[in-house]
Amino acid sequence: MVAAILLPMGAACVAILVRGYAARIALVTALLTAAVSVVTAIAVVRNGPLEYAMGGWRAPLGITLRVDGLSSLMLLLSASVAVPVFVYAAAHYARARSDERQGADFWPLALLLWGGLNGVFLSGDVFNQYVAVELTSLAAVALVTLGEGDAALSAALRYLLSTFAASMFYLLGVGHLYAVAGTLDIPSLAGTLEAEAASYSAAALITVALLFKSALFPLHFWLPRAHSAAPSQVSALLSSLVVTSAAYLFLRLWTTVFVSVAVPVVGQIIGGLGACAIVWGSLQALRQQRLKVMIAYSTVAQMGYLFLVVPLVTSALSTPGGGALWGETAWSGGVYHAIAHALAKAALFLSAGVIVGAIGTDKIVGISGIARQLPVATYAFGIASMSLIGLPPSGGFVAKWMLLTAAFKSGQWWWAIAIAAGGLLTAGYVFLVLGQGLSQASSDRDVELKSTSKAIEYSAFALAVAALALGVRVAEPLALLRVGLPIEMP
C-alpha cells in the first residue's frame, strides 16, 4: 500500500530529470499504481484493515499509515481517474506541439499531486494529513497556472490565497488537538478527546479549513474560476480528486476524532449549507455561457450532496439504533456519491476538453451540431450527465437512492427536497448543453474542426462508463466500504 504513494513520487523525480520521457514514465507508473491499488483492495477485503508504521516507529511516536475500506476505495478512485486522465494528457501533448513545454511542466506536478492525494487517503496522523494536503494544494495551484493567459494566473492566485488560508486554519486546529490530547494519531485522538474548550476550537478550526478546501457554499468562490481556467486534463484532476480529498478528510475526522464534540446543531447547519450549495451551484451552472465554467459550478453543487451526510450521520450516532437504521446507509450513500461524482466530473471535463479543443471555443452556443462530428465525446458527456442527474442505472442514482432512504428513515425529510431539486436542476443545465450539441449545425456557419485522436475521446468515454458501471455493480464497492467502518453504531 505504501507503493501507492512511492510510485508516483519516485516517478515525478525521474520525470523531472528526463523530461523528454516524462509521458511514458507517467503512463507506466499510472498502470503500476493502479495495480497496487487493486492489490491493496483485495488484501483489505481478505484480511481487514491494514497498518504500516513509517520508520518502524509505531504511533504515537511515529506515523502510522492505515487503510480501511474507505481509504482503499479512495485509492481505487484516484487510480481510476488518473489513468484515463494521463492517457488523455499523453495523447494531447503528443499532438499539440505548441503545448510541449506545458507538458514538461504538467507531468512532474501531476505525479506529485497523485502521490500527495494517496498520502492523504492513507495517512493515519492529523499532522501528516496536513503535510499531504499542503503538497496536494500547492501542486494543484501550480497546475492551474498552466492554463492560458492572465485569467489562469489570477484564478491561480485566488486559489493559492484561499487554500493556504484554509491550510493555516487546519494547522492551528492540529496545534489545538496536540495541546489537548498530546498525540496526533487518529485512533488515539478518537478515544481521548473530552468536551473542553480546546477540543471545540480544534474541531471548529479544522472544520472551517476543510469546508473551505472542499468548496462548500459559501466558501466556494475560488473554485469556478480556478477549475475552468486550468487546462482540461488539470480541471478533471482538480474537480474530481482534489476537492474530494478534502471532503474525505472531513468525513474521516468527523466520524472519528470529533465524534465526542460533534454538536447536532452544527451537523444541521452544515447540512443546510450543503442544500444551499446544491441549489445555488446548480442555478449558477444554468446561467453560464461557457462550458467549462458551467461544469465547475456543477462541482460546487455536487459537493453539497456530500455534506448532507453530516446531519444524517451525526444524528444516527446520537440515537440508539440509529446507525443500523439509517447511519450506515447515509454514510455509504455519501461516499458512493463522492466516487460517482468524481468519475462523472472527470469524464465531463475531458469530453469538454475534446470539444473545446476541436472547435476552439468553450461558448455553449458554439457547440451546436457537435454530436455528429464528435459522437464519442458527446456520448461520454451524455452518460456522465446521466450519473450526475441520478438516473438509473448509474452510480449517481445508487448514491442518491441511499441518501433519500436515509433522509426518510431518520425523519429528516427536508433533505430529500434538496436532493430532488438538485436532480431536476442538474437535468436542466446538462440538457442545455446536450440539446445544443444534438441540434443541427446552423447552416450559415461552417463548423471546421481541428482533428482529435481516438485516445483522447475514449479516455473521456472510459470514465463515463466507469460512473455508469458503479450503478450496475453495487455490492462489491459497498462490501469494501464496510471493512473497518469508521462509525461505531450504538
Binding site: 523525480c13 530529470l17 504500516y52 506536478l109 500547492l138
Partner: protein, 315 residues
C-alpha cells in the same frame, strides 16, 4: 514579577505591535520593513521558548529570505511611495475587531490547557539511543517523523516547479541586476561567501548534536546566493537547466532512496538500522540542504515580472 517575565511580556507586546503595523503601515514599503523586524522578533520568541532550531530557521527563512523576496516584490510594483489604501475604511476596522476577538478567544482557550499533556516528550528522549543522533529535533524530523519531512521537502520541490512553470518561454529564471556594485560590496561578498559556506557546513554537521540541520544550512547557502544575485552574479545562471533541475530534486529523491535502502536492510521505509542511522541521516540532510538552498535562491532569482527580467535595475 521577575526580570525574565518582564522581558517576555515586552517581547510579546512588540511582536503584536510589529504584526499590526506591518499590516496597517501608512506607506506600504514601511510595512515590509516592519514585517522583517517581525520575523526577527518571532525568532527571539522561539529562543525564549527553548527552541533554538526554530529560532535559526525563523531568522534565516522567515525574516531573511522571505523578507528579501517581499522587499523585492514591493520594489518591482513601485510601492516605495504608495500609500496603504486599506486604512480607515470600515471593512478594515471590522477585520481588526474580528482578529482581536479571535485572538482573545484563542488565548483563553490556551490558558485552559496550559500544561503539556501526554508523555510524548519523554518517549522521544527514551528512544534517542535507538535513533543514532543526540539532537531531539533532528530525531523527530529525520527519524520518528521522517516521512513528514520527506513530504515537506516535496512541498519545496512543488514550489520550485511552480515557479519554473510560470516563466515565459525561453526565459532564464535568473535575473541579472544591471548596476555597478560599489567595489566595497564586491569585496565584502568575497569575504562573506566562503564564510557563509563554512557556516552552512557547520550547521549541517552540528544538526545531529545541537541546533542546526538541513533547513538552516540550506537557508544560509540561499542567503549567499541572494547576495551574489544582487551583485549581478546569480549562481543559478551558472548551471544548465538540467543541472538545476537535478539540484532541485536531489533532496526529495535522495531522501526516498535512503528510505528504500532501509527497506533493503530489512526495516520499514525510513527505518534506519541504529548502527547506520547517523551516516544515513547525514546523507539525507546534505542532499536536502542543497535542494533547500537551490529552491530558495530560485524563488528569489526568478522573482521578476516578465519585463523586469531583462531590464534589471538597481536593487
Amino acid at each position: 514579577m521577575t526580570l525574565e517575565m518582564l522581558f517576555d511580556m515586552a517581547l510579546v507586546g512588540a511582536v503584536v505591535v510589529a504584526a499590526a503595523y506591518a499590516i496597517n503601515a501608512p506607506v506600504l514599503i514601511a510595512g515590509v520593513f516592519v514585517y522583517i523586524v517581525f520575523g526577527v522578533l518571532l525568532s527571539l520568541v522561539w529562543v525564549r521558548l527553548g527552541a533554538p532550531d526554530l529560532a535559526i530557521a525563523e531568522a534565516a527563512i522567515g525574516a531573511g529570505i522571505t523578507g528579501a523576496i517581499v522587499l523585492d516584490a514591493a520594489r518591482q510594483m513601485g510601492m516605495e511611495r504608495r500609500r496603504n489604501p486599506r486604512l480607515r475604511r470600515w471593512p478594515g476596522w471590522l477585520s481588526w475587531a474580528a482578529t482581536a476577538a479571535v485572538g482573545v478567544i484563542f488565548a483563553g482557550v490556551f490558558l485552559t490547557v496550559s500544561e503539556g499533556r501526554g508523555d510524548l516528550p519523554q518517549r522521544v528522549q527514551a528512544e534517542l539511543p535507538r535513533v543514532g543522533v543526540e539532537n531531539e529535533v533532528t530525531a523527530v524530523l529525520l527519524s520518528y517523523r521522517g516521512y513528514d519531512t520527506w513530504f515537506e521537502v516535496g512541498v519545496l520541490l512543488v514550489a520550485a516547479l511552480g515557479v519554473l512553470a510560470l516563466r515565459a518561454p525561453g526565459e532564464s529564471p535568473a535575473r541579472r541586476f544591471r548596476w555597478d556594485p560599489p567595489a566595497v560590496a564586491d569585496g565584502a561578498a568575497d569575504m562573506l561567501v566562503p564564510g557563509g559556506i563554512l557556516m552552512a557546513g557547520y550547521l549541517l554537521w552540528q544538526g545531529s548534536r545541537g541546533p542546526g540541520g538541513a533547513f538552516q544550512a540550506g537557508a544560509v547557502l540561499a542567503a549567499i546566493a541572494v547576495l551574489l544575485t544582487l551583485l549581478g552574479r546569480p549562481p543559478i545562471a551558472r548551471v544548465s537547466d538540467r543541472a538545476r533541475d537535478a539540484l532541485l530534486v536531489v533532496g526529495f529523491a535522495d531522501f526516498l532512496l535512503v528510505g528504500l535502502v532501509a527497506v533493503t536492510l530489512g526495516g520499514a521505509l525510513f527505518e534506519y538500522p541504529p548502527a547506520w542511522a547517523a551516516p544515513m541521516i547525514l546523507v539525507i540532510e546534505s542532499a536536502v540542504a542543497v535542494s533547500v538552498a537551490v529552491t530558495l535562491s530560485l524563488l528569489f532569482a526568478a522573482g521578476g515580472a516578465a519585463g523586469d527580467a531583462s531590464e534589471g535595475g538597481v536593487p
